[in-house]
């Protein structure tokens, strides 16, 4: 019990390869490392799965195909046929978040999605991209999106302001949802693991069992949050493509 452990120390950013470009700290950190790892694992898994390109898929290929069909179905249901061309981005987003979430579940690893800067960067890319698509498709008509139909004229100014704010808040809510879930889950794991230590050999079994259950729950949440992030991206994309609520 010489060292004190905080449940939050797992989120500490460490510079692995210090890099400084023009006074800006661009070090290769543990967060960057695990993002790269997520990218590599997903890419290699996909490539290995599709190497055979069998007509009747093997187990690994079936898994790759199912993830593909899952995302494709999500886009088809929420965006329609116009969403097809955005499939590569949506699929990459889903697989990257899922990969980062799941790799973060491995003890002693690092979860990049538990940092708001990472999830906000992802959400902001989605926000900028979706807004750009909206303007590209509809030009200035895209502003009509902020004017709800069938509303008394007196209420319109207020509602337009609310619509604009709710639109601008999207990247924040999108990023906070993922980040908070990851942060809370991993913190909870470490807190209850701390109880194991505190209660010792006699009483530690109960929190340990709880941590086991929590591990299962966190793996579920890793999938769920990747799904939620992706489906919200689809919904935002649908708004930009079809311009209605």
């Amino acid at each position: 019990m010489a060292e004190q452990h905080s449940p939050l120390e797992q989120f500490e950013i460490k510079r692995l390869i210090p890099v400084e470009i023009g006074g800006i700290d661009a070090s290769f950190t543990n967060s960057a490392l695990w993002m790269v790892l997520a990218l590599l694992v997903v890419s290699l898994l996909m490539m290995a799965a599709m190497r055979q390109r069998a007509l009747v898929p093997g187990r690994l290929q079936s898994m790759a195909e199912m993830s593909y069909e899952f995302v494709a179905g999500m886009i088809r249901e929420n965006v329609g046929d116009e969403g097809k061309k955005y499939f590569p981005f949506i699929f990459t987003l889903f697989m990257f978040i899922l990969g980062a979430n799941l790799l973060g579940m491995i003890p002693y690893s690092f979860t990049p999605t538990s940092h708001i800067i990472v999830t906000f960067a992802l959400a902001f890319v989605v926000f900028i991209g979706v807004t750009a698509i909206g303007f590209a498709r509809h030009g200035l008509h895209f502003f009509g999106f902020f004017v709800p139909a069938g509303v008394p004229k007196a209420l319109l100014p207020l509602l337009v302001v609310i619509e604009v704010i709710s639109y601008l808040i999207r990247p924040v809510s999108l990023s906070v949802r993922l980040f908070a879930n990851m942060l809370a889950g991993h913190t909870m794991l470490k807190v209850f693991a701390g109880f194991v230590i505190a209660l010792g050999v006699l009483g530690g079994w109960a929190p340990l069992a709880f941590v086991v259950a929590l591990t299962g729950l966190e793996i579920l949440i890793a999938f769920l949050q990747a799904y939620v992030f992706t489906i919200l991206t689809c919904l935002y994309l649908n708004d930009a493509v079809h311009l209605h609520h």
């Binding site: 898929p57 898994m63 003890p107 701390g194 194991v196």
Partner: protein
């Protein structure tokens, strides 16, 4: 190490994986295998359907060819029949024409014969009138009567 919470997370993680690995692995493997099986059966079904469709197509093509052949045969038969009919009709016409010609010729011959007998009768009448006139003018009454009587008696024998 034992005082590191992450170590206990690792322990929990290992326990979780040990608990879940077998049933979850079996379930996932079964699901993936079922999916592969479904794809295989779908492919087989599709191949079978394709084969059936090809067989059907071949059958209909054969039927079409047969129908074409039948149509050709019908046309040829009809043509042959028409030719035979027209030949028959031509032959019938010729025979009927020949018969009519013959009939006409017979009638002509009859008419000729009739005309000849008419002419001959007329000539006899004329000759008899002329003879009567000459005899009545040139002969006396007695002789005249005797001559007339004999002439009349002789006349039918001479004429026929």
């Amino acid at each position: 190490m034992l005082s590191d919470p992450t170590f206990w997370v690792l322990v929990a993680f290992v326990i979780f994986v040990a608990l879940v690995w077998k049933p979850a692995g079996r379930m996932i493997a079964q699901m993936l295998d079922e999916r592969a099986e479904k794809i295989r059966s779908d492919l087989d079904k599709a191949a079978k359907l394709r084969e059936e469709a090809q067989a059907l197509l071949a059958e209909y093509q054969k039927k079409q060819r047969d129908a074409l052949k039948d149509a050709e045969a019908i046309i040829a038969a009809a043509r042959a029949e028409a030719e035979a009919l027209s030949k028959q009709a031509a032959a019938d016409l010729e025979t009927s024409l020949k018969r009519r010609e013959q009939l006409a010729l017979q009638r002509i011959a009859q008419a000729e014969a009739q005309a000849l007998t008419d002419v001959r009768a007329a000539a006899v009448d004329l000759a008899m009138q002329a003879t009567r006139k000459i005899l009545t003018e040139n002969l006396d009454a007695g002789r005249q009567d005797a001559l007339i009587d004999s002439a009349i008696k002789e006349l039918p024998a001479k004429l026929n």
